[in-house]
Symmetry: C2
Subunit: 147 residues, 2 copies
DNA sequence: TTCGGAATGTTGAATTTTCAACCGTTGAAG
DNA sequence: CTTCAACGGTTGAAAATTCAACATTCCGAA
């Protein structure tokens, strides 16, 4: 009578599993596209978030780019070494460090944005625009409800 | 006139981003639940896949548990050390190694399965059973179309 | 039969991530 | 004012992951 999943149900009934699998797949697709610029997906997220020209604190950026705090520190170290971003101590609160995009970073960010939009278009073609929009909407509310 | 995302759209329009964010969130939830047994999510997936009592080759298991090949080898090393699983060389094809669940592994797997089903129920409550079912369906077809 | 390429796993080095401890700064209570 | 708990970020050691190279086995073609 119940439709709740039973103990011997396949692992694919779990939302946690389906999300991990879908994320893995789509992430791989994006990864291979970004390989044209030799940039990992995490750096695309960082550059994308910074692409409006505003600076972000490490904390805000970590949350937006889906990275843990120490991981972001070290990723930013690499990106600074590559002259993609730079740090500025926040004058209003000297505990904070603001991250800004360099010109080089912005240029790279634009090229990456084109690649990422390509992927969006590709998925929309192969999967259908309407299901894709619906999926995005459902994911958005799931994230809201889980934060 | 077009509804295709523009270059300066926020990162949240990207399916790749929403999937990563949702996965991160749900994975964290599951992680904290599984912490009661001190087991990482990857080992839950492995034990879950093996819970039917059949053995799996490293390759099949890697695919099912969403792990890269060398990562799985090392994870299985740890699980063998913990007496959760064991290796048997496939008699039919001696290149292959079959992984089986020990009794201890099965018992742990049952406890983990209960925790994972708890999470499913929790999500269904907070998010709604119908949206959840729809989300699962959309993810399933996305995975099919992307494999 | 024998050879060579493909399939299956493992290994070790290098990279990356994580965990815990740390330092400097802030804000606010006493 | 002081003091002190909390915040924001970094660091170094430990753990996990990845990459490339490797060994073994299988299989098909010469």
């Amino acid at each position: 009578m119940s439709d709740s999943p039973s103990a011997d149900a396949p692992i694919t009934v779990h939302l946690a599993y389906l999300l991990a699998q879908a994320n893995r797949e789509i992430n791989r697709q994006l990864e291979t596209r970004l390989r044209a610029e030799g940039v990992p997906v995490e750096q695309w997220r960082i550059l994308k978030v910074l692409s409006d020209g505003n600076g972000r604190s490490m904390g805000d950026l970590a949350e937006a780019a889906l990275l843990n705090h120490p991981t972001l520190t070290k990723t930013i170290d690499r990106m600074v070494a590559d002259s993609l971003v730079y740090r500025i101590s926040d004058p209003g609160d000297r505990r904070k460090v603001l991250i800004f995009c360099s010109e080089r970073g912005k240029a790279l960010g634009r090229r990456l944005a084109a690649l990422a939009l390509d992927q969006e278009a590709f998925i929309a073609e192969n999967y259908g625009g309407k299901p894709m929009a619906q999926l995005k909407r459902l994911l958005g509310t799931l994230i809201e409800r889980s934060g």
